[in-house]
């Protein structure tokens, strides 16, 4: 107990453990973001997190819960709106993303008693991670990884060919909804780490980096987790030694890894893996 306590009492270790937990879920989920071209969707959900924070203060809810509820509601709204095809999806997402962000900022300005660190919300405050945050992250990881493991074949099939999957009896619509709910959950738990503006980076960059080296979907998910770990560990040490903000440092490390893998792999072999 005492060792665990010592570790958890150290803000640096808390940050590292939390960051690795986020990387663990962002890896496989990020693959689906890349495969299904949902990057902009992830961004929209993330932007709505700020509105969730404002609402949490208004109704005195725990921040994570408020963010989770807002993301879920927005995901449902998007699902409904996207059935009506008058507006292109990216237009719709653009409207909702920035409106949610703006409404969140305006709502917060109406609460002068609430003192919040806006920079921390937008760009992450990894070093301020507390034990409660760790509980959220690892609770979320258990839920998401279990769901992904159980639903993997159906999710993969409906990503590869939606109609073929439907003919074969895969509940495509229900899986789409579940996937959106998982995004909402990952945003609620990852927000503190890299902030609402950089969450999508944690989903996309490790997955895209992994694509270069993977020849099966499962390999890509596992490698994405690995590259996420590298980004978190590298970003934190960068932050420690150079006194840079932790969230952006993590993203910068992820990007550097991406460049190295794509540049290096290009030089090693002319032919791309499967």
């Amino acid at each position: 107990m005492s060792i665990i306590d010592t570790v958890l009492n150290d803000f640096f270790w808390r940050a590292l453990i939390g960051g690795l937990g986020v990387a663990l879920i962002a890896g496989p989920l990020g693959c689906f973001v890349v495969w299904r071209r949902m990057a902009y969707f992830g961004d929209t959900l993330a932007h709505s997190a700020l509105l969730g924070i404002a609402l949490s203060f208004l109704f005195s809810l725990p921040l994570n819960l408020g963010v989770l509820i807002t993301s879920v509601v927005l995901a449902m709204a998007l699902l409904l709106f996207s059935r009506n095809k008058t507006l292109a999806t990216d237009t719709l997402l653009g409207i909702l993303a920035h409106s949610a962000l703006a409404i969140g900022l305006v709502a917060l300005s109406f609460m002068p008693d609430v003192r919040i660190d806006l920079t921390g919300l937008l760009f992450g405050d990894l070093l301020a991670m507390n034990r409660n945050d760790l509980l959220w992250i690892y609770g979320g990881a258990v839920v998401i990884l279990t769901l992904l493991a159980v639903l993997w074949r159906g999710l993969l099939m409906s990503t590869i060919h939606e109609e073929l999957a439907r003919v074969e009896g895969v509940p495509v619509e229900r899986l789409r909804l579940l996937l959106m709910l998982m995004f909402a959950l990952v945003i609620a738990v990852a927000m503190k780490m890299v902030g609402v503006l950089l969450i999508t980076a944690m989903l996309i960059i490790p997955a895209a980096t992994a694509r270069r080296l993977a020849s099966t979907p499962e390999q890509m998910a596992a490698l994405a987790v690995g590259f996420g770990f590298v980004a978190v560990a590298g970003g934190l040490s960068m932050s420690w030694h150079l006194d840079t903000p932790a969230g952006p440092s993590v993203v910068v490390t992820a990007f550097a890894t991406f460049l190295v893998v794509y540049g290096g792999a290009g030089r090693l072999s002319a032919s791309r893996p499967a």
Partner: protein, 262 residues
Amino acid sequence: MDEPLVAIENLTVRFDDRPVVDRVSLVLHRGDIITIIGPNGAGKTTLIKAVLGIQAATSGRILRAKGVVIGYVPQHLSLESTLPLSVERFMLLSGQPLAACVAALDRTGVSHLLKASVHHLSGGEQQRLLLARALVRKPDLLVLDEPAQGVDINGQAALYDLIRQLRDELNCGVIMISHDLHLVMAATDKVICLNQHVCCSGHPADISHDPAFIETFGRPVAESLAVYHHNHNHSHDLSGNVVGTDHSGSANEHGECDHEHH
């Protein structure tokens, strides 16, 4: 007689009040090959989506036999290049054991591609992979959406011939969409010419004389089909070998006959 695999009664599908499929009826039994032809926007794809059960009907009924397994061969596999996927993995996603997957790939002639990436297949290989993917589920009903798209002309004949053989082996029903009028005529029992409504239907040899068919496709097409029918009763592979006899159950056995000799 045996129960039909699929029976469609008076099916209408409307998008925004515009009827895309208008009062279409059809019945498909085991062993039947029905081909749907028709101009662009005629509702062919919507009709087979209704057969597949992934398109809701505005009115009318679609009856499928109980427990019928459908093998669906979509037009193509438009896969994100970000998703790494081998032929083997794609086949295994059907939930069938590897041996069955390899056997299905063997049957469609692409088992040598087992370890290849799905992204690096040619049009013809992709179609044969999709056909194997449908086959591995041992379907009672095979539904194909333009199976010969992106396949060269000789490959097309071989592909339609393969579909006919599979119908015999699996004793399944086949319903397909095709634009390859000549080849369709040779490989099918019944043609339905769709232009929202069924403009005509029947045996391939009869339909090319049907005034409604001539009106939809124009006289040159209809005449070329009629001519084709009088003169041709088998298909060839690339080297000119006879690869199969065609419609009408003619007892004409070609055996090893090479068409080039006189």
